[in-house]
């Protein structure tokens, strides 16, 4: 049976060139970058090379890149580090309701520790309205964190506009760009953000490496104390092979981005356009301003988990909501924040494409997926009588 991986927002396979770049650092180049003799010096040089490659991907200066273990660490670091650094100026933080748990739970941690947090609403397409940001700002606001794009619904947020509003009040802006970095152009200067999180495995790099961009001149309280790694901002012996792999993947992503997008977008569009023709299947997120390889839907009267299992039995691997809400079998907070009912949100499914996917893979999906929906609806008690209803009742659809 065919095995088709359609869950690239969960993770990507490692690019072979990134693996090749990593291999020496898993074998003979095992030195600790802090060691002053040649083994250490070569490891240190490898990390600094990777720092330049990652900085190049997002148009930052190398010294503005702090390596972390993953995107979640970068997000925790940004939220806690800036809130603590700025607490004498104010103790109010804004985050959107669309955020990943690494932002939302960090915000909850801040709330428990004396900060006030405003959770910004999103509209039915998943956009944060810059006007609501403006209204939520108080004299106490020190930090705004809004994702660059949600991996669950793919909507790309108006970060530039949010930054413009924040800068009128001299407020620091962070964006979680884990879903976008390496997949669409991400330029820290163009966006105007002060901090930006990224993760290597989202652009064909290895797991175990992420980074936080911190604009020169911004003070941040470390999350991990210890040695002098990352200029004292993030202690702990570096994951040299993963960082080297991240650097190589960043270089490749920058060089191949246009080509990858040109290849993936028509495949994605074919999924969206075909599924829009299936009854009571609704696109989630915005049709235009969305990740180039991302197609997400809510399917009425069916549970996402059931679709995943039947699709997996056909060799098609996809996701329902965020990985954690999928495991906890509860409706995705991201979809609920968009005003989608909890019953419809149960039928969430996300297909995210990668460079290894082919047009034939998409053909196969578009044959099997409608068949799975049909089969599940035949046995779904919720589906009984649905044909009598006027409308789907939800407004997240492309069939408006």
């Amino acid at each position: 049976m065919k095995k088709i991986y359609l869950d690239h927002v969960a993770t990507n396979p490692l690019h072979t060139e990134a693996l090749d770049a990593m291999m020496p650092y898993l074998k003979e180049e095992f030195g600790n970058p802090l060691s002053v003799y040649e083994y250490g010096m070569r490891a240190k040089a490898a990390i600094e090379g990777a720092r330049e490659q990652v900085a190049g991907l997002v148009n930052a200066k190398p010294a503005e890149i702090i390596f972390t273990a993953n995107g979640a660490e970068a997000n925790n670091f940004a939220l806690r580090g800036i809130a603590l650094a700025k607490q004498n100026e104010g103790k109010h933080v804004l985050v959107s309701r669309m955020e990943h748990h690494s932002i939302l739970n960090s915000a909850r941690f801040l709330e428990k520790n004396g900060f006030a947090v405003t959770y910004l609403p999103v509209d039915k397409k998943g956009f944060v309205d810059p006007d609501t940001v403006k209204k939520a700002i108080t004299k106490e606001t020190v930090l705004i964190s809004v994702t660059h794009a949600s991996s669950e619904v793919g909507t790309i947020e108006p970060i530039r506009e949010i930054v413009r509003i924040a800068k009128e009040k001299n407020i620091i802006v962070h964006t979680d760009a884990v879903a976008t970095t390496g997949n669409i152009p991400v330029d820290v200067k163009d966006l105007g953000v002060d901090l930006l999180s990224m993760a290597a495995h989202q652009f064909y790099g290895p797991k175990g490496a992420g980074a936080l961009y911190v604009k020169q001149g911004i003070r941040i309280v470390p999350l991990i104390y210890g040695g002098i790694q990352e200029s004292g901002r993030r202690a702990g012996t570096e994951n040299v092979p993963a960082i080297v792999g991240m650097g190589k993947a960043a270089e490749l992503a920058k060089a191949e981005m246009a080509k990858r997008t040109e290849y993936l977008k028509p495949l994605r569009d074919r999924i969206i356009d075909t599924m829009a023709g299936v009854e009571r299947v609704y696109l989630t997120g915005d049709r235009e301003n969305r990740l180039p390889a991302h197609a997400s839907f809510c399917v009425e009267y069916i549970e996402g988990e059931a679709m995943l299992l039947l699709l997996a039995a056909k060799g098609l691997f996809s996701a329902s909501g965020s990985a954690c809400s999928s495991k906890a079998l509860k409706a995705s907070p991201v979809l609920l924040s968009m005003g989608i009912s909890s019953s419809l949100a149960q039928g969430s499914i996300v297909f995210s494409l990668g460079t290894m996917n082919t047009s034939e893979d998409v053909d196969y999906l578009l044959t099997e997926f409608p068949a799975v929906i049909k089969r599940l609806r035949e046995i779904s008690p919720y589906a009984q009588g649905w044909g009598d209803r006027e409308e789907g009742g939800e407004e997240c659809t492309v069939k408006e």
Binding site: N88, R219, G232
Partner: protein, 83 residues
């Protein structure tokens, strides 16, 4: 401790929130870059610097001009001396 104000530094290094031994590492790194007679300003909130920076200056033969307490952090001034 010697307190000063209105010192005009040639180079400023901001290591607020960074812990030991960043104050000594940055001090050494930055002083190395300076010309004799130039002044370095180090901004830090690390208490250990109160003892360590004057001691480092004495040991390395550079001049510790003094410090300023801005409330949230300290500013240390070091003048590089010719060897």
């Amino acid at each position: 401790m010697k307190f000063v104000d209105n010192v005009k530094p040639d180079v400023t290094t901001d290591i607020v929130y960074m812990m030991c031994p960043m104050h000594l590492l940055k001090l050494e790194e930055q002083v190395k870059e300076l010309e004799p007679g130039q002044i370095l300003e180090i901004m830090t909130d690390y208490d250990g610097a109160l003892e360590d920076i004057p001691a480092w200056c004495k040991k390395t033969g550079n001049e510790f001009l003094g410090m300023e307490d801005s409330g949230d952090f300290f500013k240390f001034y070091i003048k590089k001396l010719a060897r």
